[in-house]
């Protein structure tokens, strides 16, 4: 998963871009076709259509209760869709019981069998395939090695740490060599450091085995790190499906922009648009402001449309003096500074009382900073950094 947006760093050597979703004719390994799931009157998943391709690391992201787990459980076969179809390699799998699907799941709670040893847990699925003892043993050993748990083969789950349990759960789910591995918040129980380490381990394992991974998470950073594509869900709907870079740079709605990372949203009206470098640059009139801004609009927008201007804090430049040539300029006072070690986020209060956040890397030590509380400051950004979001 080294190539995500499809941009290569070296001009001469073009690495093979992994982007099967761009190919309209490619057959996806999983396809949801208008899948709806209702629990009584409540609609948990609402008419979702989605294609996931072989060898992808697909992340389902979204706020709590938006239907991520339900979508995953339908794919695993533990829930039946109320409407719509799920296809695996082109075959409708609604009639296939969960124990016959080429899919394995790593459970959020790990669901390790407490009465079995680590090795027996990993071998559990292999034994069901009526493999010979020696084959089961060989494969179990291979899996133990993959997750670096050889030394713990004879332990029971309750004798393991959280991180070790998580590895056993992963090894168990991978042992049967499934075509698709489902992971429901696999790293939820780990601390930040171990979590990051495990994310990279997961990516390595995924790359090594070439299995299609579908991971559920509500941690947007995790999704950005591991995924080839992210499907962002909201209230049972897919709000946007795109690569991490795309979903960050080109959110298609206020919800997406707000959910992924930090964003400043300014309400206003779209004005005239002009073409610039092959993209529409639109004049934006903020509500109650005298100054106009310029912003991108990837989908194009009609003049006079009520919309939001979204600009990420790290794209906003903060300075104590007025910049020479800035198309997009705001004036205010520093209200608050949030120090996060490598970064500082300045909360700047504008004349109308609203707050705009600007983020700067802390290249200098704290004491040498030239901006401090209540200083008058100027905020500016490039037109390409701001995007207009239809409401």
């Amino acid at each position: 998963m080294t190539e995500q947006g499809g941009t290569s760093l070296t001009g001469t050597h073009q690495p093979q871009v992994f982007a099967p979703w761009l190919d309209e004719t490619a057959e996806p390994i999983v396809e949801f076709r208008g899948v709806t799931k209702k629990f009584g009157e409540f609609t948990a998943v609402d008419d979702v259509s989605l294609k996931i391709h072989s060898r992808e690391f697909f992340a389902l992201l979204g706020p709590s209760g938006c239907g991520k787990t339900t979508l995953l459980r339908m794919l695993a076969g533990f829930e039946t869709p109320s409407a719509g179809k799920i296809l695996v390699e082109g075959q409708d799998i609604s009639a296939v019981p969960p124990n016959m699907r080429p899919i394995n799941m790593m459970f959020q709670s790990y669901a390790l069998f407490p009465h079995l040893t680590v090795a027996a847990n990993i071998g559990f699925g292999l034994r069901r395939e009526r493999k010979s003892n020696s084959k089961v043993k060989a494969r179990t050993d291979e899996m133990l090695k993959l997750v670096q748990m050889e030394k713990f083969a004879d332990r029971k789950p309750h004798q393991l740490s959280g991180g070790q349990r998580q590895r056993v759960a992963l090894a168990r789910a991978l042992a049967r060599n499934p075509k698709i591995l489902l992971l429901d918040e696999p790293l939820g129980a780990l601390d930040a450091k171990l979590r990051e380490q495990t994310q990279f381990e997961l990516m390595n394992i995924q790359e090594e085995l070439g299995t299609t991974f579908v991971i559920v998470t509500h941690d947007q950073e995790e999704a950005m790190t591991v995924a080839s594509r992210i499907g962002l869900m909201n209230h049972g709907d897919l709000a946007q499906v795109a690569t991490p870079a795309d979903i960050y740079e080109n959110p298609n709605s206020r919800f997406v922009a707000d959910f992924i990372g930090d964003v400043n949203l300014i309400t206003g009206t779209a004005g005239e648009s002009a073409q610039e470098n092959g993209e529409a640059v639109v004049v934006f009139h903020p509500d109650g402001g005298q100054m106009n801004f310029n912003a991108r609009s990837p989908d194009g927008i009609q003049p006079g449309t009520k919309c939001d201007l979204a600009v990420r804090p790290e794209k906003i430049h903060i300075s104590p003096t007025k910049p020479e040539s800035a198309a997009n300029l705001l004036e205010g006072h520093v209200h608050d500074i949030a120090y996060a070690g490598n970064l500082s986020t300045y909360h700047v209060r504008l004349a109308d009382g609203s707050i705009v956040k600007a983020q700067e890397a802390n290249r200098q030590r704290l004491g040498n900073r030239d901006i401090t509380w209540e200083d008058p400051v100027f905020l500016s950004w490039e037109s390409g950094s701001a995007i207009l979001l239809d409401r």
């Binding site: 695993a76 533990f78 019981p97 969960p98 124990n99 899919i103 394995n104 799941m105 459970f107 959020q108 709670s109 669901a111 390790l112 069998f113 407490p114 009465h115 559990f124 699925g125 069901r128 395939e129 309750h158 168990r172 789910a173 049967r176």
Partner: protein, 298 residues
């Protein structure tokens, strides 16, 4: 302060001493005595007023005669073996009946589970004796069971259930069912549903998942339930007496007859001691199991 600590630590021991050890020693002493037509009906009796000589006479009068008597008369050995057999079979039957009930309860919707537990405990609110008497009304030759079966035409002659071992099994299964159901229910209820889903996900059918996951995880509850039924069933007296009639031989009943009909207190006490010793083994095993369970659930 020290006195209070001693009191707190000493109180349970004191309790054990008064309510277990002292009666036990009295029964043990009686079992080593001989019968006498007297009040109380055994000798020797400790006479402390005779001083040292009294104690010597007392100890000299004790012997193992009652125990050798138990071994010589096959009645007692048969009663013991029969008790063992009835306790085993009825424990197994209680398990067969109790497990599905516990399983059904644990699978029931969360909201109605307390109600179901209540329903299991509810019979305890009426006297045990009355409930056993009620079974006489059901099982006897002109009883409800036979009337019903005759009415349906399944049988043409009334069945002889009353006064057989079958009636004893029915009585024990009925009476001790809650002791089997509740521990099994509590282990099944704690079980994480995702374990079964994981097993199915890894290729098990539902039946196989039950066999490989549910049953092993319910084992501590099953073992606890079996002990809780087996131990009292072994010494059961009321049920074999009321439902089993004269043909049913059990330790508890033998003990009662020796004590009240024959007024042979030493032999009755010896029977009691033997019963206690045979039950110590399963009780110790049960305790060990409980400890292991607590260890595992930490």
């Amino acid at each position: 302060m020290n006195f209070r600590r001693a009191l707190i630590i000493g109180l349970p021991y004191f309790w054990l001493l008064v309510f277990f050890l002292a009666p036990f020693l009295i029964v043990l002493k009686i079992s080593l005595s001989d019968t006498a037509i007297a009040q109380p009906p055994y000798t020797p009796i400790l006479d402390l007023s005779a001083g040292w000589q009294g104690i010597k006479d007392f100890v000299g009068g004790l012997d193992l005669e009652s125990f050798t008597w138990l071994l010589q008369d096959s009645l007692y050995i048969n009663a013991f073996l029969s008790s063992l057999k009835i306790a085993f079979i009825s424990t197994f039957l209680t398990f067969l009946v109790g497990f599905p009930i516990a399983y059904g309860m644990a699978r029931a919707p969360q909201g109605i589970r307390p109600l179901l537990v209540m329903a299991i405990i509810l019979p305890f609110w009426t006297s045990f004796l009355i409930r056993v008497y009620a079974w006489i009304g059901i099982l006897r030759t002109e009883g409800l069971l036979n009337q019903f079966l005759l009415w349906t035409g399944l049988i043409s002659e009334p069945l002889q259930v009353m006064n057989t071992n079958i009636a004893v099994y029915i009585g024990i299964v009925y009476s001790y069912l809650p002791f089997m159901v509740l521990p099994i229910y509590s282990t099944l209820e704690k079980m994480d549903d995702s374990l079964l889903e994981a097993a199915i996900d890894l290729g098990c059918s539902r039946l196989k998942a039950f066999w490989l996951i549910t049953l092993p995880l319910a084992a501590p509850g099953v073992i606890a339930g079996c002990f809780l039924v087996f131990i009292p069933a072994m010494g059961e007296f009321v049920i074999p007496d009321l439902l089993g009639g004269s043909s049913t031989l059990m330790m508890g009943k033998t003990l009662w007859i020796e004590f009240f009909s024959n007024r042979d207190w030493p032999v009755a006490s010896a029977v009691a001691i033997i019963l206690l010793l045979t039950l110590v083994v399963p009780i110790v095993l049960f305790q060990r199991q409980l400890e292991r369970q607590q260890e595992a659930s930490r």
